[in-house]
Symmetry: C2
Subunit: 432 residues, 2 copies
Amino acid sequence: MLLCMCAHIKVIYSYFWPMAIIVQKFGGTSVADIDRIKHVATIVKRELDAGNQVAVVVSAMSGKTNELVGWAEAVSPLQSPESLKEYDSIVSSGEQVTSGLLALQLQSIGIKARSWLGWQVGLETSEIHGNARIENINATLLKESMASGEVAVIAGFQGVTPENRIATLGRGGSDTSAVALAAALEAERCDIYTDVDGIYTTDPRLVPKARKLRKVAYEEMLEMASLGAKVLQIRSVEMAMKHNVRVQVRSSFDDKDGSLLVSEEEAVERRLVTGVTYSRNEAQITVKNVPDIPGIAAKIFRPITAQEINVDMIVQNMSAASKHTDLTFTVPRADADRAVTAIESAKAEIVFGEVIVDKAVAKVSVVGVGMRSHAGLAQKMFETLAAKQINIIVITTSEIKVSVLIQEEYTELALRALHTAYELDAAPSVAS
Amino acid sequence: MLLCMCAHIKVIYSYFWPMAIIVQKFGGTSVADIDRIKHVATIVKRELDAGNQVAVVVSAMSGKTNELVGWAEAVSPLQSPESLKEYDSIVSSGEQVTSGLLALQLQSIGIKARSWLGWQVGLETSEIHGNARIENINATLLKESMASGEVAVIAGFQGVTPENRIATLGRGGSDTSAVALAAALEAERCDIYTDVDGIYTTDPRLVPKARKLRKVAYEEMLEMASLGAKVLQIRSVEMAMKHNVRVQVRSSFDDKDGSLLVSEEEAVERRLVTGVTYSRNEAQITVKNVPDIPGIAAKIFRPITAQEINVDMIVQNMSAASKHTDLTFTVPRADADRAVTAIESAKAEIVFGEVIVDKAVAKVSVVGVGMRSHAGLAQKMFETLAAKQINIIVITTSEIKVSVLIQEEYTELALRALHTAYELDAAPSVAS
């Protein structure tokens, strides 16, 4: 009898051992209600039926986190470290509910499954409550459970601090949970299921010819933050890049293939430019007639930085004749008024003519790892915009990106022109 | 400097050390929304201002647990042990939210406070998920925190199993959490704040002359389950009795004194009967014409017990002449039809005439520790009911209780008559 048992165990092991591990992450709209949760269970089952071990990371039902945050804000300004500990305990409850419900639903359709909360799954974080970083994942128990054939349903967005308090990873943190777990489990792939079906060459709502990308390099994704932020938390992309986790973005609402985030080597698809992005979250500030002397930029930015406002694009105008110049830069639109107030309050020290704010500007960027090796790609951008009579206010570049600031009303025109110029347009006869 | 620090620490200790510990528990209606939670914080503050250390146990916002249970039931029949583990993780999230919110609100009015979940506070339970028992409370960290001047806000209803899973204590389990913590903390008193202002001699909705009791013995409270169930979970009363915890039931909606549960010695207030209770949750089943032979009762109850239906009052009618008798008993009204089906299905084995069900019955009980020492108290009950022409169907007695089954339509009449007969009526001129 004992021998018989051992033989049985061996069979189980040989069956489960060589399976690939897939991590799946479902966002708030994918688990928005009981029907959606039931649908998610069928997606999990499909991956199991394909012969894989599956770990699932879930967000809270859409709207739930906002409700919890609203309650917390109703009783506290949430500024002290102690208050953020309570905030974390409150808001993490949303994922606790969905992880339990999905585990229940999986059990109901005959699949072995259990939920794991941050403190149960050994997801250890820093003590920066409200925006903690993952320090370590002690996945021993998780691996054992999965090796025994159990689907792991993990509450996203949460971990536990050395003090044994719940910490959350910041908004969108479930993506980071999923990628970190995929790294810890050495997963074959991390599938991020969301309400869009992939990463596009540009915003399909503005550019009808936008095309879904099959593969995107991590570096490109980071530069495409303004597109990606709607799809993936930036920190999760950084983590995927660091640990070389293959991340697939796809929709839980249809069966279409998604987009795969991979290393630069794997991403190359004979293209120079990967996408064209835009951001309307910009305001341009011009400080007129400042003395053109060393250290003046530092003087102007000091009061702004003191307000924790990020300065993005900067240009200092030429001033050959006079000893004065104009300094133009951008800040997030929501911070523009505070930035002006900060500069005005330092007027005695800086000395300047006037401060002009323009909130009707947009930043348009062309992104692609191909820029590393191909000169002339920036030039094509300038020429394309010039041909459409679009004035460029400021230019900034990085290794794989060129950004320009333009008047906001030209955003769609600029995007469409650039999309065509860089040969990104979808072939008209092929469905995206 | 170091010496100075030490002196400071000594002062703190001498200040906090001799304080009494009060445990306060707030039910779902007391934390139903942000305004109620803010009000609860003022009640906590009042106890602190009186010079006490305070631990607070909270339920979920009223309605929240039902919502969570509804979701769990929508995806699972909740019958397997694995599914009940998920159920517990889901439903315990309600108390997680309120404990965090109350801690935040206390911090906002300048009171040091932190929340504790079951797994953080060392509340260890059995592995009977959905209805776990508290096995142990490792309160070392909790005591340290409270000694440092921090109010402990503890999520009720939940603990952690040896397997590191969340377990809940069954409906109303927050009362048990509070009493168990009061025992572990050797608290001076455990105040259960609810939406009624105390324990009454009978249901004030049916008997206008009902009077609030100042003190009630644990044993009496257990017997008054049908009244008490609306106020206190029975298991919490058992635990209070076992550990001799003084429990006060009072309202969070007004400042009136509540009722105190104490030991029998402390409870005596020169009264023989403490209360008159009733239950409409009864159905009477009569099995006619069964053979009057040894073992027949066992035969009839076997199929009912197999259905896990509780049989309460039993009477076997006399049968001097014939060799047949009638057996009458009560079961919970909701189980009556299943009980009849169970008996009918065993008809071949039992042999009987017919089964008659009457759901229009009520159980009325007179409770008091004075019954131990005073004969004639039961006789007064029978005479009082007879004077009102109320027929008694079945009688059962315990050491401190006499119960009778009557036709349901006489419930109010019986309660009022007994309340007067046992001299429980409130003096007309005194407000309750």
